[in-house]
């Protein structure tokens, strides 16, 4: 699926091993690698999370500040997700504006949160049409070894869960001022993306960079804790049959709760 040259040998071996029902690192098809999550470790950020899934390593920062609302939603706060593919993360990643992959990553994570209505956006309004909270979720990739959407979705949730945002006071004259108080962000649900990768006729979870390189396509299914689907994203120049889509959704359903349980706010 990458634009880089894929080694034939790599693809052959990965498919061979999948035929035997396992992966190059010995995992089952639906196993995730070891997940490590740490939250609230950045002091200049209202919320933060560091997620490692195998060697994939990302940091998420949540910042909340004042801004202007969108014209069509004058009373609602603003949520913005941004992803950076930092050039340290892989030898083929270069400095520059976010490439397509980073933009897709940010938008898919964003939709997962937004469609699920994780934040009560009206609670984040301050002065109608003038001042609202802007909540930034910055997804920072430090080492790429596959499965960024799941890692960032998990990180975003963990960071938001532990976030403490400043409390602003609105005077009668609609002047907004800072107080020295903070409050926890109220989350109404906990969406988690699970991405299923298609290699030939095999479906696997938590692909490594090698597996992503040889994958023909992927389908991301974001689910909240009630197993409502809040986002779907199919990628890759390959077709999925309806049965395959159903199968993917089932796989995601079975896995989401396990991954969501990792999004705990550590002290």
């Amino acid at each position: 699926m990458s634009n880089n040259i894929v080694s034939r040998l790599k693809r052959k071996k990965i498919e061979e091993v999948l035929e035997a029902g396992t992966r190059m690192d010995g995992r089952d098809l639906n196993d995730f690698r070891e997940i490590e999550v740490r939250t609230n470790f950045l002091e200049k950020s209202e919320g933060s999370a560091e997620v490692r899934i195998g060697k994939t390593h990302i940091v998420v920062g949540v910042k909340a500040g004042l801004g202007t609302p969108f014209d069509d939603t004058p009373d609602e706060g603003v949520l913005m997700c941004n992803a950076e593919y930092t050039p340290v993360a892989h030898q083929t990643w270069e400095p520059g504006p976010p490439p397509h992959g980073a933009i897709e990553l940010a938008r898919v994570v964003d939709r997962g949160l937004r469609s699920a209505e994780i934040l009560n956006m009206e609670d984040l309004g301050l002065v109608s049409g003038e001042k609202v909270y802007i909540v930034f979720v910055d997804l920072y990739v430090l080492n790429w070894d596959g499965n960024l959407i799941d890692a960032c979705g998990l990180g975003a949730l963990a960071a938001l869960k532990g976030a403490e945002i400043p409390v602003f006071k609105v005077s009668k004259k609609n002047e907004v001022s800072e107080t020295d108080k903070t409050q926890k962000l109220e989350l109404r649900c906990e969406p988690i993306p699970i991405t299923i990768y298609k290699i030939g006729k095999h479906f696997i979870l938590d692909a490594t960079a090698d597996e992503e390189e040889v994958a023909d396509g992927r389908l991301t299914v974001t689910l909240d804790e009630n197993n409502n689907v809040t986002t779907l994203q199919k990628a890759g120049p390959v077709g999925f049959t309806v049965d395959e889509i159903k199968k993917c959704i089932n796989i995601a359903e079975e896995k989401a709760a396990e991954i969501r349980s990792q999004a705990v706010a550590s002290e």
Binding site: L42, E43, K44, S45, S48, K55, H57, V59, G61, V62, K63, G65, N82, E84, T86, P87, V88, A89, H90, Q91, P95, P97, F136, D138, Y140, L142, N143, W144, D145
Partner: protein
């Protein structure tokens, strides 16, 4: 001391009654913030290091030497060192845009000039060594901390070097020359003098200053900063050796074993890689 009292005193008397100088975090004038360095933190990079200097949290990753693209930027007779300094949006308060700023570009340049003297770039014609620095959390003196991490990352990448490069800033805060300015001191202080230094070759490779200092104070600050660099150097050494924590006794047999399997009987000297 109240304003009325101040007016009545002469200068010398005022000095002796001055409040004892205290830094915001309680450090002594010549005390460094705690420094912690770890190597090999980015598996994909050829070399990498993570540094915490005070509350700064910075990652440096190195790729290279590798072919340089676009070719027109490469040099026919020596390699190019490219250092990129970049801050995460959540590294500062308020959030900053992820787009590179002019300050980022300038810092990249002075960092490149700070590290290049320690490298043998003439060994890598037409190639590039890329150093990428990411500031995860900033708290004053990020360029110094970045140089420290970058130097360690270069060694971790197996790139031959003439010396390490250690960096630290000194400055002036409330009329005192102090070492290693934190964020508050950076912003409220009277001068900031970042320095990078090659400890064995005893040469300064980065020197900047902004603020107001007499010429004597400037020299004092540079010398104090160099002392700070030497202290950071010890932390860099430890970080590089930590991976190989060895406490076994060596035997002649072992040396022989590694000799035969480890060494090519190369007769090259400065030609060596």
């Amino acid at each position: 001391m109240s304003k009325s009292k101040t007016k009545a005193k002469t200068k010398t008397k005022r000095k002796s009654r001055k409040k004892k100088f205290e830094r915001v975090d309680g450090r002594k004038a010549d005390e460094l913030r705690p420094v912690k360095i770890e190597t090999g933190v980015i598996p994909n990079a050829d070399g990498s290091a993570y540094i915490e200097m005070g509350r700064n949290k910075i990652i440096a990753g190195v790729y290279g030497p590798r072919e340089m693209h676009p070719k027109r930027l490469s040099k026919p007779h020596r390699g190019v060192l490219r250092v990129r300094y970049h801050m995460a949006p959540f590294s500062v308060d308020p959030r900053r845009s992820p787009a590179p700023s002019r300050r980022d570009t300038e810092i990249g340049m002075v960092m490149t000039d700070a590290l290049e003297p320690a490298l043998f770039l003439e060994r890598y014609p037409r190639s590039v060594i890329d150093v990428y620095v990411e500031i995860i959390q900033a708290d004053g003196g990020t360029r110094c901390a970045s140089v420290n991490a970058a130097a360690v990352a270069l060694v971790d990448a197996g790139i031959p070097m003439k010396d390490l490069v250690a960096s630290c800033a000194a400055g002036k805060m409330e009329d005192h020359i102090v070492l290693d300015l934190g964020d508050y001191e950076d912003k409220k202080g009277q001068a900031d003098v970042p320095v990078a230094y090659m400890p064995k070759l005893e040469e300064v490779t980065l020197l900047q200053m902004d603020g107001i200092l007499t010429t004597d104070e400037t020299v004092e600050a540079v010398e104090l900063a160099i002392e700070g660099c030497k202290q950071v150097y010890e932390v860099q050494r430890e970080a590089l050796k930590k991976k190989y924590g060895m406490d076994e006794e060596d035997t002649a047999e072992d040396a022989e074993e590694s000799e035969e399997s480890g060494e090519e009987p190369a007769e090259s000297e400065e030609e060596d890689k």
